[in-house]
Structure formats: structure tokens, C-alpha cells
Amino acid sequence: MFGIGASPIWLERAMAATSSKKILVALFQRGAADGLNIVVPHAEKAYYASRPSIAIPRPGANEGSTIDLDGFFGLNPNLSALKPIFDAKKLAIVEACGSPDPTRSHFDAQDYMESGTPGIKATRDGWLNRTLGVDPQKSPIRAVSMGPVLARTMRGTEPAVALNSVKDFQVRDKMAGEDYMSRYAASVDTQLKGTGKDTFEAIRLLESLRKVEYVPANGAVYPNGRLSQNLKQIAQLIKADAGLEVAFADLGGWDHHVNEVGATPFIGPLANLLREFGGSLAAFYQDLGPRMDDVVVTTMSEFGRTARQNGNRGTDHGHANVMFAMGGNIAGGKVYGKWPGLEREQLYEGRDLAVTTDYREVLGEIVTHHLGQRDTSRVFPGFSPKAQPGLFGATSATTKRS
């Protein structure tokens, strides 16, 4: 237990060792984002043939055309905020990533991606929790999952807190708060006792942050939306130097079976989500400034969507997808991964982009090179890296086009 008024060891340590601390932020696009319309393979004829009415136009002068990155791939125009970061070589893209498991179930695929063990449902903890070393003296907010429930990937043996809002993270009646704290500390229900301990420790740590209105630095403007507000709070926690190590946030609504793209690429549900997604990542990058060197943000979605559009100007559940990695020592400005192509015979089961990079290769490389864990077998049990994309310039791997 922790005594009231005593200066906890983790607080001192958190205050002391800050600048060298590496932080990993994982973002989940729930619902299977359409990677092919996010990072557009504009030099692929088959892309345009497969999507007569929902393809993003080739790079050009017209408004709403793809923003070219390397002559082959380009960004959806709603992600224009990310182009300067890509140009500054701080944003890398990995194409054709995914799971070796063939499921097209959202639930199973998210579960596998968050547990880090494709095909194995019995795994109780998540890969993000397993990146945390065992050390009881660490900060109570070393692992933060934004939102009212603790994300699957954050569950595990190391304490992690679910946080709705920094501002509201307190017991409204202070006297009662002390009472509850001792009730939880004295509980024989070990699960609730543990969660209670994590909660009250985090409440105390966040107390000072609650008192001042957070002002993003460097003129960063976070767009409206939940992901954006969550990233803003993650930035606040990082800058508070309170011992944050891993953070998780998600954005739902990517399951675009119907009318994915409107009359122009700037209209429609995909456009709306991408503007929030790109705008909030860019604001986060700007807000953190040089501190971004200590932070890597990576994005994922449970699987991709069909190469061909369906009967309703949408796309159905597919296979491979695109991942982003931003910040830290990422060798950005490049599209990584082996591109499998979109011709019929190149597609997985004749319909989806094939997976050429296991998502654990990407995450594992970040765990090794950013978090400094050479051995990733604890984080991704049963998986040994074979072909990491080389995001940190460690290998010369880059996109190979077939």
C-alpha cells in the first residue's frame, strides 16, 4: 500500500529520469480501415480498374487528387497534414501489413492484433502491456489507455489505467475519496483491490495536471474529435514527465461497406475520419516538437478491405493493410514493405491485398529499436522476427514492387 503524504519512490524516479525515457503510442483504427484508399497505389492500373467509382484520383492538379509520395504511392488528400512530416523523414509507412491468421471477423482480428498472438484466443494479456518491464516502483500512469474501458492490448500483469479525461480523473468528494481508497486497499477481492490501487495512485499523480488548462505548444491546433482530444491528453501526460511509457487510443467507424467515398474524395465517411486522423497526428507532432524524438506513434487496423469495390460504393472485409510509424529515430520519408500487387492473380484469395509483412515485424522492430528490448519473444510469444521492414535504417529494406 502507499501512505498518504509520503513521497512515493516512483514519483521521485519519474521526475529524475525523464528526457531519456522512450514512449510508445499505439493507435487502433477499429473497423478495418481501407488502406488502399489511405495510402493510394496510384501507379497501379489494377487499383483504378477495381474501384471505378471510389478510387482516389491519380496525383495531378485537380483538387482531391492523391498527394504523391514516391511516384508509386501517395496519400489520400485528406491526409495532407501528414505530408510535411513525411517530407521531414519523420513519418514512415509500411505497406501490405497484416496478420497470418485469415479471419475476416472484426472481433477476432482485433483481438489477435491486440493480444499479439494471431490465432490464439486464450492469451489473456495484450502485447502493449507485455512491453512493460516488471518494476513495482514505476509510475502509476506508465501505461494509459484512453477511454472508458481498458483496451485489450493494455490488459495484463502490469498496472495500466483507463483514462477518460485528465480533468475529470478524481473522486468528486475528497473525504469520501479517502474512505474508498482504504476500502479498496482492504478488500479481499484481489482484482478489485488491484484496480483500486492503480486508480487511486493515478488520481494523486494527476492532481497537479488537473489544475491548469493545457495549452498545446508550437501553435498546434488539435481538430475536433475523440481521437484528437485523446492525443492531446497523451501529449499533456508526456510533457508532464510523470512517467508515461506506453499509451493507447483508438478511433472507430472505419467499416465502410456503403458509400465510402462521396462525390469528391473530400466528401464521405472515409474523408471525415481521415481528416481527424491526419489532423490529430500532425497536431500531436507539432505540439511535442523536439520531444517527439522520444516518442514513436504507430497505427494499425485489424485487416484491410477488398481490392474491388462492392455493390454499394463501399468495400468488404479484406486482408492486408497499411501501418504508419512516426517520430523517434524512425527513418521516415519512405514507404516500406514488399508490395504484392493488385492484379487478380496477386490478390489473396482472389480478392484482397496479400500480407507480405506480419504486423509483429513492424511492432517488434519498434519495441527493439525504440524501447530498447532486443528480445521480443516476451512481447510476441511464439514469433521470431524474420523480415523486419528496417524502419530505423538498420537494414536497407524498402518497398520492392513486383
Binding site: R104, F107, R183, S187, D189, T195, H257, N310, G311
Partner: protein, 539 residues
Amino acid sequence: MKLQRALKLNTLRFSLAAILLAFTPLAAKKATDAAARFKQKLTKPQKVEHALSRLTFGAKPGDAEVVSKMGLNKWVEQQLNPSSIPENPELENKLALMPTLTLSTEQLALQYPTPQILAAIAKGRMNMPEDPAIKEVYQRLSERYKARIEGKTGKGDNPTPQAMADGQRRRVGAMTTEQRSEALKRIAPQQAVAAELTEAKIYRAALSNRQLSEVLADFWFNHFNVFLNKGADKWLTTSYDRDAIRPNVLGHFSDLVKATAQSPAMLFYLDNWTSIAPDAGARIRRVAPKARARGINENYARELMELHTLGVDGGYTQKDVQEVARCFTGWTIEEPNRGAKFRFAERVHDKGEKLVLGVKILAGGGIEDGLKVIEILSTHPATAKFISRKLAQRFVADDPPQTLIDRMAATFTKTNGDIKAVMHTMIQSPEFFSQGAYKAKMKSPLEMVAGALRATGATLTNTLPAAQAIAGMGQPLYRKQEPTGYSNNGEEWLNSAGLLARINFAVALSENKLPGIRIDKDRYAELAKSMGAPEWQRR
């Protein structure tokens, strides 16, 4: 310590030995212990307490005595036959304050006009309704609609809920159910529909005498989840809950599948209403050149098998998904934004031969193709197991014993999916009334809040603050975006944000700080406060 004293007031007893055993860290030992504990019997008072905690949203003061006096078996039989129980008049009075609950979807769309209807009127494509009371609302909303389209209004005048000013939203939130019903109908009619549905769910959970029926309504809605905030589902969900789910909660499973399959809310939510035979596109384009639908959409077909019937390991393939989707082509909605009725559109149906889970469906069929699929899936052994396991997970334990699941599945198969019979098997089983099940489940946010309102005998004039509290704990009612629904595993709710929200709800309840929710502070303030403590979080 105040809270400790308060807990003694609480009739619920806490078994130290049980809890210690349930959380032994060694996994293997835990498994054998758990198996043994599902064989350990409960005492008579524990049985009553347990039945009330599982088959209702929580005991009211005096419930345990009533059940003991009546006899547990008799009480269970009553709950399994809800029409035999007279409904609480207080609940009926509350529900009567909310007119949207009983309106047909057509009337709902008319009296609480959708943006599409307002647009149609503004563009002169539709006439104003004749009923003077409705007409008055239309006139005002149409004026605002026009003004907004022409860019004449600022944010503050905008009638859409999103743009409702913060102050106004707070005021509306603090109104009584009755006042809000009136106010929203005038300023944001669509929001009235959603608000009343949400409020009604809490009134029912807190006040209904047919508690098991209410618990099951929550279970089945969640099983066949739709998302209230997806477009037309804002005003289709009222009928879905009332007409597809509630009449069937203790009926035959296949009726639930059929009712949901043909409900506009589900057809819209999982996109089946737009799914047509691949070659039908050309056929209908000739007649309707702007037709948006141009092929198969497999979304519903997949979730029907994965989430509604067989379960993800139920042995179907991607090919089965496509074949089932073909069977359901043409199951669509007439006028989704203006009344929404189920319709089978013969001419966009795929008439070819199909093969579903090895069963041949002959070419030339119509609506019976989909009905045949429902029959195949509803009677499949994988479905019997999947549904039994899910029920046991909700009512017995996060990891229910396989022996229990097998017995329930056998009943399911023998009775052709009679839910009442399956529930009977479950409740009569030794596992149900065992130490392994006793207080083993973490309460969902709805169970936590509804249980608190019941235990404190709270007087309710506005349940929206309770709904907001539940949302803050991670379970916004009718608003789970994913088709999976909320997890029935209690661990889902074990986290710091949720715990803090529970604590803050208990504090607010004990101090009568939730608008529209009043407890007798002299009698129940301490109990209410103790509801933030660990003991209250389990059922």
C-alpha cells in the same frame, strides 16, 4: 469507518473464503478449484440472494423476504412467465410520459420529422402534414432548415442536437422526463426519440416487476446489437427493441433471428438492405438509372453466422458467407428515412442455386431462401452451444463449466431452441446455485446503476443522468458501435476509469446530486455511498 458501517446495513454478505479461493494465482490449481466450487452448494438465504442478483437488476429492499415467503421455485417460474406478473403501475405511468415508445416507425418519422422529410418539404417535394399540432412543429423546423441551408443562421439557432448550445443541453438534461419530452419534440425531435428509448430502458430496469424479462431484453438486444447513432437507426431502434426483441426474449430462438433479420434497424445497420444480386444491377438500372445498389454486400451474412448464430468457430467458410449473402439479396427496407418497412424485393434477388453449410438451396427461390438459411442456422448444433455458452456467461460465470453448457445445448436442440426451456435447465442446474457462481460476476455498468436505484428505492423523474453515468462507465446504452455488442465477460469492466465513474456515481447518488433521482437520505445515503466500494461491484 463510515463505509464499513454502511456495508453492514447491506443485506448482501461477502464470503471471504469464496473470494480467496476464486483468485488463487496458480492457473492449474485455479481450474481444479473452480471445477470443485461449481459443485459446492449455497445456503438457502444465499440461494435467494443469488437468484435476485442474477435474474433481476438487483434486489429492492424487502425482495429477499418476499421471495423466501413465496418459495424460490415459484418465484423463478413467475419470472419465466412474465405475462403472469402484473406490471408495476408506477412504471406504466413513467412510460406513458414518452409518446415515441408506442408510435409506429411511420408515425415516428412523421411526428418527429427526419432531416430527409424536412428537406423534402423545404424543396416542395412533400406537403406539410394536416394535423395542426404536427404542422406547427414542421413549420418551425422547416423555416430553420431553410435558413440553415441558405446560411442565414449562426450556430446557436441550429436545431440539430450537435449544435445545441452547451447551456441548452445542460438545461434539457436536467429537465424531468415529461418536460424534456415536450421540449425536445419542438427543438430537436430526433433527439427525443433516442432520449426516450434510453430513458425507458432505465425506468424498466429499475421499476419493472418482470425483471428477468428485462434482463433478457438487455441480453438479446446486445446479442443482436444495432447502433442507435448510425443514420436511420436513430428512429428505427425504438421499433427494433419493442417489436423484434422484446416479444421474443423467452420465445423460440429462430423467431428472434427472423424478427431481427427482417427488422429495418438490422437491415440498415448491417447494410443488407442494399445487397442485391450481382446481375440485378443492370436490370434495375434500366428502370431506375440512379439506383445506388449494384451488388452483393456480405456484412449481414457474416455477422449473422459469427455473432448471431454459429459463433466464430461454428465451422462456416468465406464461401458460406458469400452464399448466405446471396440468399438474403432483396431483403430490404421500403423508405428507410420515412417509415421503413421490411420488403422482399423479388427482382433483385439472386435466384441461382446456393450451397449453405453443405445444404443445397435450389435455384428459383425467393424470400424462402433467406428463411431456409435462418432455419439451418437456428437449428445447427454449433448455434445451440454458442447461445448456451453466451447465456451461461451472462447468468452463471465468466468461464462457465462445459458440463452446464452441454446440458443447456441439449435442451436447446431438443426443444427446437425454446429459450424458456434453456433458461429453465440453466437455473435448475447445480452450477447455477453454486459457490463457483456466487458473487463471481463483475456487474456491468447498467447492472451497477439499475441495481443501485433499486436498492435505494430511488424516486425517478428523469433517468438521463443515470444513462450518462452508465455511459461514463463504458456502456452507452443502445450505442455500441460494433455488431459484437458489449462483452458478457465481467473483466471487460474492470479498469480505473470505470471504477472511478462507479465511485463518483455512488457519491452523487448518496448526496442526491443527480437531477431527477431522489433517495431517502436518512435511510439510504450510507448504503448509496457504499456502492462505490468493491463489494457492490459484484453480483
